[in-house]
């Protein structure tokens, strides 16, 4: 059971959240200009990193904010959390 540190609500059990996958994958500004390979890379290819991982979480049952969690994917240790406000 993960305790997800919502930057707004504080640590909560993971059943309050929806996992949103790897963070920092911006949507291409002009998809039409991309090759199929470039689009596939945005669409499907992931680092799936073993260790330090930046990822998106949504506080579904709480404040309904999307935010970023940094987590070690081997130990599941939470290394930090930030709001999109912070990270911009």
């Amino acid at each position: 059971m993960l305790l997800i540190p919502c930057p707004w609500c504080g640590p909560r059990e993971d059943d309050e959240f929806t996992f949103g996958g790897e963070a920092d994958i911006p949507r291409p500004a002009d998809p039409a200009a991309l090759t199929d390979e470039q689009w596939a890379d945005y669409l499907f290819m992931r680092d799936n990193r073993r260790g330090h991982h930046r990822e998106q979480w949504y506080h579904t049952a709480g404040c309904r904010r999307w935010f970023i969690v940094e987590r070690d994917t081997v130990t599941n240790e939470i290394l930090g959390a930030s709001t999109y406000g912070d990270s911009q």
């Binding site: 059971m1 305790l3 949103g20 002009d30 039409a32 689009w39 998106q56 949504y58 579904t60 999109y84």
Partner: protein, 994 residues
């Protein structure tokens, strides 16, 4: 005479409360405070079970949860409990105890014939044979299956309920032995919120079985005082009968509290057991240690007990497990057992000590008492069949030292820390040579204390516990300055343990020496495993099944580590131990499921009209968590008849549908239109207030994700309808784009799904019904045209009315606040009575939309379907980008042979195609036979008087009218069909515009 082995004084049993239970039908006298095991021993019952593989006679080995032999079946029928341990099961009046794994009886077990075959069925024998002839494997397996397994499952549903509790504390203390009690006391004194749990019915652990003194009190008495103080201390929760069985990430600790679950005669209890989900700030791990058995021939004979267990039976239960004892040890602790035996009047014929010069206090006391002590000596074989009759001794170099008669053989190979919880959480552990076992290292807010650290001296253990409790409380932010004093006990200088793994010489080779008593894994099995190259500890475990029994190898694994290390000539630290897995002790599935069963298994969501639907006799279908009215059969009506009646009512008169389950999202802000432009495939900015539009939402992969109507309420407000099952996912998805990607858009989303109920009136007379129900909204065709909405009142209730249609008929979807929806629903029914209004359910809704060729996301689509595939390419804007657009120009999305939505008409109009049936060009015996597609929806259309179907067919749109077949192979039929345009009724869409 009853209870021949019961001592006439001492112990913590209640002699004033005698009771009786049965073992294989035989009455057993006991006292309250006994376990089933202590009572059996008191009655001289030494044979309690048969071993798993060879069916050798087995007796009680320990006095706790680590016992490998004492598995019994409790009770019978629905309430039976398979594979319970006699050593931890309280003796209660009338308890029905039966052996497992012997036939026909325990004493006369025909299956012990397996013992004769032992030389030919070593570890993993089944990998090497039973392969020929191939067709006989099922027979071999049938035999293996019925030979395996232990107890019997209940034969009816569980009458008990189980409980779940969430708990939080500053310090959780696992184990209430000397270290745990000291730690809990210390933590409590700092004002910390403390939970202390112990698997036994009484707090005290080892204190209850020793003659030592703490703070000048006899140890058991001190334990009682400490336990009493804790239970009355504020902020302290004491949990006896509670096993900590799992330690997970975030230091979530799971406790299983036994209430009645080990009492099969306690019928239908409200709570058979309670699982505590504890999130402590800090953990004191005081889980103690397990005594390690020693290897010698026939070391599995009944009457061979762990030395510490003998002391427990003597001191705690006033039971002498034998009448003449031999003790075999490699450390000092077993001398205490020898002294306990002597005090109890049980002669100790010999102590065999592996060590050459044990010089601790206890050996000295034993010698002083005249107990014969053989140093540098080992037991190499136990004689006797049904029970140990003698112990054969020899020196470390294999020289015989004679045979000593005894009916009780106490063994101690030292103590292995019970670090299971610690290890489960992958916390670090290191090899501790002093105890020749792995011990935990402090980590992640876990403070080990007491025997689990390898410390056995009582005085030191008490100090350790106090320090751990204080440190844990401080780490949890609780401290009131003063450091609690540790309870005092006498120091006992001890001499070091001498690791002893393999017996000397070849003498014992001829007889089995069991490393894992439960799994019947012998020393020879380990040798074979290593010989064949299965050397990693995990390979040994999997090849020999070492430690895989219900006892989880609590005794076997620590022994095996040393044995394997010696056989391989390696350092035990490098051999390691099989990975510890939850649960430390088995926990019933029901207890883990808790209350989440029956009506609480999963929320059932309903609309304000639910009671009305029920009283109207509706049949329901599950749609996600929703319970929706499926159809409303009249008395004697079949589903088919009811649905036909409902369909015709809508087509010819008017029907009413509870459509409240649709998701509804209010979208507000200056950029709302731009936002819709990006998430929907079609254009929105120009939609005028008061108008509605159908929208398609794609995933970025270009596949259809959701669809629905969105209305523009006013300049800056839209109301989006989502499909029922996508309400939550769509909201999360929209918020994700707004919050993480398009942060510049000024848009707010608010779910109003629960506030607005949605009642659909559909059919040529729906306008009349709405008028009759009373509304201030002008209903004339030109005042309120198709695909517009109006705000006003319906039946006196504020309402938003949408002129949209999922049936192709003149239709109004009336949104009213849920608090008044039931009133409006009934008002419309009253108003509609003279027009023949008919309530209809989801099945009719499906038939009506299929007649119109409207798709349902999740039925026509399956995550691999694009808008063009279902003929909605016209909704793809060319002038703007939208989510998923780029994926639609990938090579595969442009394939001409993609599956496309078509209609199918059977040659036989009465024949309704099976949904999920596959479409082929022509019947054929060849396999695989190429498939063109499959039937997604199929119904009998009452208004058309024939069957209709929608299908996804490869290249189907270009070949409308082609001859195809739908295969139903279970009856070997090929149903001839022709493809057609997927709109079967009112293709020009005139009816919804009237």
């Amino acid at each position: 005479m009853s209870q021949p082995f019961r001592l006439d004084h001492g112990g913590r049993i209640h002699r004033d409360a005698p009771l009786q239970f049965t073992f294989d039908g035989r009455p057993i006298d006991a006292f309250r405070g006994d376990t089933v095991a202590s009572a059996l021993l008191a009655n001289g019952v030494s044979l309690v079970g048969r071993s798993l593989k060879y069916h050798r006679p087995r007796g009680i080995v320990s006095a706790g949860a680590e016992d490998p032999n004492a598995f019994v079946q409790l009770g019978h029928g629905a309430r039976t409990l398979p594979n319970r341990l006699a050593t931890v099961t309280p003796a209660t009046p009338g308890l029905e105890v039966r052996h497992v794994n012997a036939w026909p009886s325990l004493d006369f077990d025909l299956m012990s014939a397996f013992g004769l075959a032992a030389p030919f069925i070593p570890a993993g024998f089944y990998y090497k044979t039973l392969m020929w002839p191939r067709r006989l494997w099922p027979l071999y397996e049938h035999f293996l299956r019925h030979a395996a397994g232990l107890g019997h499952a209940p034969n009816a549903p569980d009458p008990d309920r189980y409980d779940h509790v969430h708990a939080h504390c500053d310090v959780l203390v696992v184990g209430a032995g000397p270290a745990g009690l000291a730690a809990a006391r210390a933590a409590a004194q700092t004002g910390a919120r403390v939970i202390v749990a112990d698997e036994q019915a009484e707090f005290g652990g080892g204190l209850l079985a020793t003659a030592e003194r703490v703070d000048a009190l006899p140890a058991p008495q001190w334990a009682d005082v400490a336990a009493a103080q804790l239970s009355s201390a504020p902020g302290v929760t004491v949990l006896p009968n509670t096993t900590a069985f799992g330690l997970y990430e975030s230091n979530l600790v799971l406790l299983a509290e036994r209430l009645h679950s080990d009492q099969p005669d306690n019928a239908g209890s409200e709570s058979g057991a309670r699982v505590w989900r504890v999130l402590p700030k800090q953990i004191v791990l005081a889980s103690g240690a397990h005594e390690r058995p020693l290897l010698f021939a026939n070391n599995d004979r009944p009457g061979v007990l762990l030395a510490g267990a003998i002391s427990t039976y003597l001191n705690r239960y006033a039971v002498a497990p034998g009448s003449r004892a031999v003790v075999f040890t490699n450390n000092d602790s077993a001398y205490r057992t020898a002294l306990d035996l002597a005090d109890a009047g049980v002669p100790v014929a010999a102590i065999a000590d592996v060590r050459v010069d044990p010089d601790g206090n206890l050996p000295a006391q034993a010698r002083a008492q005249g107990i014969p002590v053989h140093t540098g000596a080992v037991v190499v074989q136990a004689h006797g069949r049904g029970r140990v009759a003698a112990a054969e001794l020899c020196s470390l170099d294999g020289a015989p030292l004679g045979t000593v008669e005894c009916d009780l053989l106490g063994v101690s190979g030292g103590f292995a820390p019970a670090l299971h919880l610690h290890a489960q959480a992958s916390a670090p552990m290191t090899w501790n040579p002093e105890v020749a076992a792995f011990a935990p290292q402090p980590s992640h807010g876990i403070h080990p204390a007491g025997a689990v650290t390898g410390q056995l001296d009582l005085a030191s253990v008490l100090r350790q516990g106090t320090a751990a409790g204080t440190a844990a409380a401080a780490a949890a932010g609780c401290s009131n300055g003063h450091t609690p004093a540790a309870p005092q006990a006498a120091e006992t200088p001890t001499s070091d343990l001498k690791p002893y793994w393999l017996p000397p010489g070849e003498l014992a080779r001829t007889k089995p020496q069991f490393v894992d008593l439960h799994e019947d894994v012998t020393l020879d099995d380990l040798r074979l495993s290593l010989r064949e190259g299965y050397e990693s500890i995990e390979h040994v475990k999997r090849y020999t099944t070492l430690g895989m029994g219900p006892d989880q190898g609590k005794l076997a694994n620590p022994l095996a580590t040393g044995v394997i290390a010696e056989l391989l000539g390696r350092d035990p630290a490098t051999v390691g131990t099989p990975r510890h897995r939850p649960a430390y002790s088995p926990v019933s599935l029901g207890a883990i499921a808790g209350r989440h069963i029956g009506p609480l298994a999963d929320p059932v969501r309903v609309t304000p009209m639910q009671e009305w639907h029920e009283s109207a006799g509706a049949h329901f279908e599950n749609v996600g968590q929703w319970r929706r009215a499926w159809y409303y059969p009249h008395p004697g009506e079949s589903m088919h008849e009811a649905v036909a009646r409902e369909c015709l009512a809508v087509r010819n008169r008017v029907g009413i549908l509870d459509y409240s389950t649709l998701g509804k999202i209010e979208i507000t802000g200056p950029d709302a239109g731009e936002f819709l432009d990006r998430v929907y495939t079609n254009a929105w900015k120009r939609l005028r207030p008061g108008r509605c539009r159908y929208g398609l939402m794609l995933g970025e992969d270009g596949m259809i994700f959701d669809d629905g109507v969105t209305a523009r309420l006013d300049d800056q407000r839209y109301l989006m309808f989502t499909s029922t099952s996508n309400a939550a996912p769509v909201l999360a998805w929209l918020e994700q784009w707004l919050q993480t990607e398009w942060t510049d858009l000024r848009v707010y989303l608010t779910s109003v799904s629960e506030h607005w109920s949605n009642i659909a009136l559909a059919g040529p007379r729906s306008r009349d019904v709405l008028a009759a129900a009373g509304t201030d909204i002008p209903l004339a065709r030109d005042d309120f045209p198709f695909m517009t909405f109006r705000e006003g009142h319906v039946a006196g209730v504020p309402a938003r009315v949408f002129r949209i249609s999922f049936s192709g008929e003149l239709s109004y979807e009336i949104n009213v606040p849920a608090d008044r929806a039931r009133h409006v629903w009934e008002a419309l029914l009253d108003a509609g009575r003279s027009f023949g209004i008919t309530p209809y359910g989801t099945e009719t809704m499906h038939v009506l939309r299929a007649e119109k060729g409207f798709i349902i996301v999740g039925q026509e689509t399956d995550g691999s379907v694009t808008p063009d595939d279902v003929g909605l390419g016209r909704l793809l804007s060319r002038r703007k980008d939208f989510l998923g657009k780029r994926s639609l120009s990938r090579p595969d999305s442009a394939r001409p042979d993609r599956k496309q939505l078509v209609g199918l008409l059977t040659d036989d109009p009465a024949l309704v195609l099976p949904e999920g049936g596959h479409v082929v060009d022509a019947p054929g015996r060849r396999r695989p036979l190429p498939m063109r597609g499959h039937v997604t929806s199929s119904y009998f259309s009452p208004v058309l008087g024939r069957s209709i179907a929608l299908a996804m067919v490869s290249g189907g749109r270009a070949a409308l009218g082609e001859r195809l077949y739908v295969a139903t192979l279970h009856d070997d039929r090929w149903l001839p069909v022709r493809s057609c345009h997927p709109v079967f009724y009112d293709p020009e869409g005139a009816r919804q515009h009237v």
